[in-house]
């Protein structure tokens, strides 16, 4: 008997005597928030939760998104003790709106299958997002062309993420409902962190040590 058949037979045997019932899952928990996506109070909550985990957040409109992206890049790279290129090298996914980058003086490198070492030579990355969850301060990337493959938002040390305010939902269930499980998904809540030393949280380990979120109205 193959291991597969054997394990399945064991599982069936284990359940055979009492045949446990398959109850419905009671979904009496909150499945949606009180406010619609993009509600001003939600945006405030999202910003509060982001900053609580030491992410940076700034709000802007379509007219000035390029200026805010440029400032997020320069502030994000202006960290003590950080090696950086001059001008800084910023990787972007192929489908990122080009007008978001019109104000930065960085060297913008579109990802056309960069090697890992080439990504490691980049100072930062700018992406869009798929969904944001206000209550938990979470952004989710799904590999769409304005977000790119997973490695580009991982290897560079600064992540600037542009979130449209109508992408912000209140609760986790609303976020899950908007995602396509067929895509590679990365949920991001603040910069990389660890609680492994005396169970206290410190930010900045292997993932991007700095996360700037640009909230784009309208």
């Amino acid at each position: 008997m193959s291991a597969r058949d054997d394990v399945l037979a064991r599982v069936r045997r284990a359940l055979a005597t009492d045949e446990p019932s398959i109850g419905d899952v009671p979904r009496t928990y909150r499945q949606r928030g009180d406010r619609p996506p993009g509600d001003p109070a939600l945006i405030d909550l999202f910003v509060e939760r982001l900053t609580d985990y030491r992410a940076h957040a700034r709000r802007t409109t379509t007219d000035d998104v390029a200026g805010h992206v440029a400032r997020a890049i320069s502030e994000g790279l202006d960290q003590p003790g950080r090696d950086r290129h001059a001008p800084p090298r910023i990787v972007v996914p192929s489908g990122l709106p080009t007008n978001w980058l019109s104000a930065t003086d960085a060297d913008v490198i579109p990802d056309a299958g960069l090697t890992v070492d080439e990504l490691d030579a980049c100072d930062g990355v700018v992406t869009a997002a798929s969904v944001a969850i206000a209550e938990t301060g979470t952004i989710v990337l799904d590999g769409e062309s304005d977000q790119g493959r997973r490695a580009i938002s991982l290897v560079p040390d600064l992540h600037v993420c542009v979130v449209r305010t109508d992408q912000i939902v209140e609760t986790v269930p609303e976020g899950v409902a908007r995602l396509d499980p067929g895509r590679p998904l990365t949920w991001i809540s603040g910069p990389s962190a660890t609680s492994d030393i005396e169970l206290d949280r410190v930010e900045g380990v292997h993932g991007p040590r700095t996360l700037h979120v640009v909230l784009l109205d309208g």
Partner: protein
């Protein structure tokens, strides 16, 4: 494990293959819990470290749980979802396999640790690589994968900060979430200075500096890794999606940069539908690290062309899980999502630390999971490693009734030993004697008066520190209060002399059983 004809407990027909095999993996300690705990209790530094860390995390967890108004509804949904998963496990496993394969992945099945290790070794060899980077995973710890890879000449590099501390310190994990919880910052600094090649000799014990040292140490290894090995927090049967919940980004590195990804997962990690994640992604981070959401959660479904590993494997592991599933009471242990909240609130764990449990699963959940995976005989002391205070049940995000399972396993242990022996042991003899005495009020009264003679055994502080065998087993780990000079029954008779004598015996008996109302 022993078959018990007609007994209340049911066991798998073929025990030798259903429980986790001996001689491989980390589910059994070298010594029983009481002995290991006694040694741990003499280590005051260990107790300080664990007390500080668990105190910190308890407060954080309480804060973030308190801000969720529907926490109890989420717990109930989590419990029900896992119960439904167990009831439908055969079909869900087949469905998961279909979806993973349809998405370009390969699925392997392992009856036990030996088979799982062999599968992973073969897969790594096929890539030609002699090194793997690992995401922290309880399943691969459980089966001793690192040792199996080492025997095959393959180096396994742990990348989680706490796992790295344990690996560099040639130590063993002592907590599910934070395997190096028994080390404080000064000790971690010393380990890094001693074991990390090229580490900055000016390294301080500031946690941020320590984390940076780990980043520098692992960076090149991540960027050049060709094979990643992970566990999985959840696998969605409906979609074939696997997920890893983490903090540092080491998980993302291992799941994203290598060409080959091998995930080893216990068969109980399945959830039926995509939507079920909306429950567990709320329960797990708040229960585990006390965060509203952990920094990173990765989800992948088979192979994603042009993004991440293009050679993706899933190893489905039994290793005693079906034996656990066969126990109608004990199977709820399989609902565990490895948050470790029960460890952090446990008064026993807080004093002994994790090593005393002898298994990669310590604390209250370990006390009910390890003995079921191995068969109770191999971890017989663990169900007794608890004061049954119930704090673990209160914090469990999927409402595993740990005290209930502990008591159940204690009873199973006694049943199994009785069935395997013809000569009764001291405990059974004493229980039988107590049963005979208590069945008859006159015998009970006489026995109580006899016990007063026991005062002679007690020292000046009214404690009996040692009794002759077989009762020495009790006094080996605790003192026994000396019997009072007057029994309750005698006191009652003396102070209620006016009461109807004919009613005395039955009323006194009632009082003895706690229903005294006058």
């Amino acid at each position: 494990m022993v078959m018990i004809e007609g007994g209340p407990f049911r066991h798998d027909a073929d025990p030798n293959t259903a429980t986790a095999p001996r001689g491989v993996g980390h589910l059994r300690g070298d010594v029983a819990f009481p002995t290991a705990a006694r040694a741990a209790l003499t280590d005051s530094q260990l107790r300080r470290n664990i007390g500080k860390a668990t105190g910190t995390i308890r407060a954080k967890r309480a804060d973030v749980v308190a801000e969720v108004a529907d926490w109890e509804q989420l717990r109930e949904a989590g419990r029900a979802c896992k119960a439904a998963t167990m009831a439908r496990l055969p079909e869900l496993l087949v469905q998961l396999e279909e979806r993973v394969v349809a998405a370009g992945g390969t699925v392997h099945w392992a009856r036990d640790a030996v088979e799982a290790n062999a599968i992973v070794v073969d897969l790594v060899r096929a890539t030609g690589s002699d090194e793997v980077v690992k995401v922290k995973s309880m399943a691969t710890q459980e089966i001793g994968l690192n040792e199996a890879l080492a025997e095959a000449g393959i180096a396994a590099l742990e990348t989680d900060l706490a796992e790295l501390i344990v690996q560099l310190g040639d130590d063993t994990p002592s907590h599910i979430l934070v395997p190096a919880i028994h080390r404080n910052r000064a000790e971690i600094r010393e380990i890094f200075l001693r074991e990390m090649p090229g580490v900055d000799p000016e390294l301080t014990d500031e946690p941020r500096r320590l984390a940076m040292a780990a980043r520098t140490h692992l960076r090149r290894r991540f960027l050049s890794a060709r094979v990643g090995v992970s566990g999985a927090n959840f696998a969605v049967a409906e979609t074939g999606t696997l997920s890893v919940v983490e903090s540092e980004g080491n998980g993302r590195m291992c799941l994203t940069l290598p060409d080959t990804l091998i995930t080893v997962m216990g068969i109980e990690k399945i959830v039926p539908t995509w939507r079920d994640l909306e429950v567990f992604l709320q329960l797990l981070p708040r229960s585990s690290t006390g965060e509203r959401m952990n920094p990173y959660t990765s989800m992948w479904t088979g192979v994603h062309p042009g993004d991440g590993p293009q050679d993706v494997h899933l190893v489905l592991l039994d290793n005693g899980r079906t034996a656990t599933l066969a126990d109608e009471v004990g199977r709820q242990a399989l609902a565990c999502i490895r948050c470790s909240a029960c460890l952090n609130v446990c008064p026993v764990y807080e004093r002994t630390g994790g090593h005393a449990y002898g298994s990669v699963y310590p604390g209250p959940i370990g006390a009910i999971l390890s003995p079921q995976l191995t068969g109770i005989a191999d971890n017989a002391s663990l169900p007794f490693a608890s004061s049954l205070c119930g704090a673990c049940y209160d914090v469990c995000p999927v409402k595993i009734n740990i005290p209930e399972v502990l008591v159940h396993l204690r009873a199973r242990h006694v049943e199994e030993r009785r069935a395997s022996r013809t000569v009764p042991n001291a405990e059974e003899l004493s229980m039988a004697a107590v049963g005979w005495v208590m069945a008859e009020p006159r015998r009970y009264a006489a026995a109580q008066r006899a016990a007063r003679a026991g005062r002679m055994l007690a020292g000046g502080r009214g404690r009996i520190r040692s009794l002759p065998p077989p009762l020495s087993a009790w006094t080996a780990s605790r003192d026994l209060p000396a019997p009072p000079t007057e029994t309750f029954r005698d006191w009652w008779a003396r102070t209620h002399a006016d009461d109807d004598r004919s009613d005395h015996t039955s009323r006194a008996s009632s009082s003895d059983s706690g229903r005294h109302t006058s």
